[in-house]
């Protein structure tokens, strides 16, 4: 146990063979696991696509009315007829559904009725800034979590209490309110960062921070709990007995265990950040998927709404896959066990 735990490098390709008999079938098992994972991803994507399709069909007023301008408008029956014909809405539902899936597979998400361009083009232009924002938010959140955990967990009583209290407070912070506070202080009072609408890394700091702080509270709580339980493990005592300093014990041994629970929710958090980016983007007047979504729903642009939903779901699935991979690197035991 201790051997595996203290091994510093993520087991390279050197097989962790426990008994010889297991080795021959390892490749086949690995292949089967990969196939299962792929099947699950495809299933989730299919489900997401189908659920959004059903929702877009079931919306009140019907799709044709939405294209014509929404429930507030009163299009003539001839106009609705024409729209139905143009968008193929007069065909049987099953044909429409299969057609929709076929188009999705080829990356064709339809035509945006509010941007007057193909949905895939619109999303491709807007997903970059959101990815930057969500990515930096996750990165910042982890940075804060690691520093905060190393410094405040299981220290003298007031320090630990403040450390944990701050984390609870961070979780409850509404991100938009935090953002407004940051703008007021750093843009208007101190003039440290450029105001709204600017681009570049300097303009990224505040919106990313407004998303990162609540996230740091969330991940931090899991990490804190992991850190506390790990500090009580026998191998920590043995490391201390070998004369390791407290700081080294914390950074070399404990941290690696403590980040695992947080790591396993990071994929989820990244997906949520793509959804949550809408607040930061709206507040900081940034281009991105979030503001695009607000326009899409306001203009009843079904194709664009569906497209954005699907891309965020895709990001979620891929992020989870990546987080699982990172988990394996941080915890080689999983590789040996499964």
């Amino acid at each position: 146990m201790i051997e595996v735990v203290t091994a510093s490098a993520p087991a390279s390709d050197a097989p962790v063979v426990r008994d010889g008999a297991v080795a021959p079938s390892r490749h086949r098992r690995r292949f089967r696991r990969a196939a299962q994972r792929l099947a699950r991803i495809l299933f989730i994507l299919w489900g997401v696509a189908s659920a959004t399709w059903i929702a877009s069909k079931a919306r009140p007023g019907g799709e044709a009315v939405a294209i014509a301008g929404g429930p507030g408008t009163t299009p003539s029956p001839e106009m609705l007829e024409a729209i139905k014909k143009q968008y193929g809405l007069d065909r049987p539902l099953i044909t429409q559904y299969l057609d929709y899936l076929r188009h999705l597979v080829t990356g064709d998400l339809g035509y945006s009725t509010s941007q007057y361009r193909p949905v895939s083009t619109v999303i491709a232009q807007n997903i970059g800034p959101t990815a930057q924002l969500a990515g930096s938010a996750i990165f910042l959140a982890w940075l804060i979590v690691i520093v905060w955990t190393l410094l405040t967990v299981k220290r003298r009583r007031p320090i630990s209490a403040i450390g944990s209290g701050v984390q609870v407070a961070l979780i409850s912070l509404p991100p938009y309110w935090l953002g407004m506070l940051l703008i007021e202080v750093f843009v208007f009072r101190l003039n440290w960062v450029p105001a709204f609408g600017a681009t570049g890394p300097r303009a990224l700091i505040l919106p990313a921070l407004s998303m990162a702080l609540p996230l740091a509270g969330f991940i931090g709580q899991l990490t804190r709990l992991g850190f506390e339980t790990t500090l009580e493990q026998p191998f920590i005592t043995s490391a201390r007995a070998r004369g390791m300093t407290d700081w080294k014990v914390r950074t070399r041994h404990v941290l690696r265990h403590a980040i695992l629970p947080g790591l396993s929710v990071t994929g989820f958090a990244l997906g949520a950040s793509f959804g949550g980016a809408v607040l930061a983007e709206s507040l900081f007047v940034r281009q991105g998927i979030g503001t695009l979504l607000l326009t899409a729903v306001a203009r009843q642009d079904t194709a664009l709404t569906v497209g954005i939903t699907l891309s965020v779901a895709l990001v979620y699935v891929l992020a989870n896959l990546a987080a699982d991979g990172l988990y394996l690197i941080a915890d080689p035991r999983m590789k040996a066990e499964s």
């Binding site: 009140p60 979780i171 409850s172 938009y176 407004m180 703008i183 793509f274 607000l294 965020v312």
Partner: protein, 293 residues
């Protein structure tokens, strides 16, 4: 706690009250403060006129954006309405949206969790697959799309937030049901000849739901933040209404000249979220037999 229990066994009747008082005092100070604040919030829900003499929609255009003073402790908004009074009157709407949303989420979660935990392999994997798909929609995005599709209204907010928060609770309930259903006391209830439905409703469900009380209380805090986020985006309750998110959204443009317009509603939201989260965490920890560190 243990010392108090010992007193109770030695002097059962006289000590009873003493033990109860000790138990209240042994609550962490954070939980006590939170409970006091929540009592005030409850008062604002039941009888807002007790806490303020102003009316939430009473405008005084000549006194717009007045700084906090004795007459208006939190200042006034752009139309000269008393912000403190509006916050008090908005409590009922904001809080009931959050609580109803959590109840809806729990209801969906219990149905799915029971189906999945007791319904056999086929149902379990069907529900599991549905939850996998459900999870791929981030809560806020799902809520925005549903509210925008159905129209912005407190009732659609409840539906959207309930649907958005349900999958997380459903997974929890499923796990709980799975861990509870094979416990000896469930077996005992079955052996005693109780009908299956009774065993599920009276024995499995209450035990499976116990840790959920704390989780759901923390969830109310999340829902308050989500609901006010919607208000902030203009997708929640609409402006003249004193709903907290709508107040924040309306004050957005005045923040740099009149900080109180944003600061106080935000501070109330945070305090309420913190208080519910603190109480919820305490409930959660004590249901697991631990105490907060």
């Amino acid at each position: 706690m243990t010392a108090g229990d010992a007193t109770a066994t030695r002097v059962p009747k006289v000590g009873e009250r003493f033990v109860r008082a000790r138990r209240w005092l042994s609550l962490p100070p954070g939980v006590i403060v939170s409970l006091i604040f929540l009592t005030l919030v409850l008062a604002a829900v039941i009888a807002p006129s007790l806490l303020t003499s102003t009316q939430p929609l009473e405008a005084d255009p000549l006194n717009g954006l007045a700084a906090p003073s004795l007459a208006h402790p939190f200042g006034t908004d752009a139309s000269g309405r008393d912000i403190y009074g509006r916050l008090v009157y908005g409590t009922r709407l904001s809080l009931s949206i959050a609580i109803l949303a959590i109840l809806l989420a729990l209801f969906i979660a219990v149905v799915l969790g029971l189906l999945s935990g007791l319904g056999g392999r086929v149902l379990d994997s069907a529900v599991g697959g549905a939850l996998d798909i459900w999870f791929a929609f981030p809560t806020l995005l799902l809520v925005i799309v549903i509210v925008a599709t159905l129209g912005a209204h407190p009732s659609t907010m409840v539906i959207a937030m309930g649907i958005g928060a349900a999958p997380g609770y459903a997974r929890l309930v499923r796990g709980q049901v799975l861990s509870v259903r094979n416990r000896p006391y469930v077996e005992a209830a079955a052996v005693l000849g109780h009908p299956y439905v009774r065993v599920v409703v009276r024995t499995i469900l209450p035990n499976a739901l116990r840790p959920l009380v704390g989780v759901a209380t923390v969830g109310v805090a999340d829902m308050i933040v989500v609901a006010t986020s919607l208000g902030f985006l203009g997708l929640g309750a609409q402006p003249p209404s004193p709903e907290w998110g709508a107040m924040l959204a309306a004050g957005r443009d005045y923040f740099s000249t009149a900080w109180w317009v944003e600061l106080f509603p935000g501070a109330v939201i945070i305090t309420l979220a913190l208080a519910t989260a603190t109480v919820g965490r305490h409930l959660l920890l004590s249901s697991e037999g631990r105490t907060a560190s």
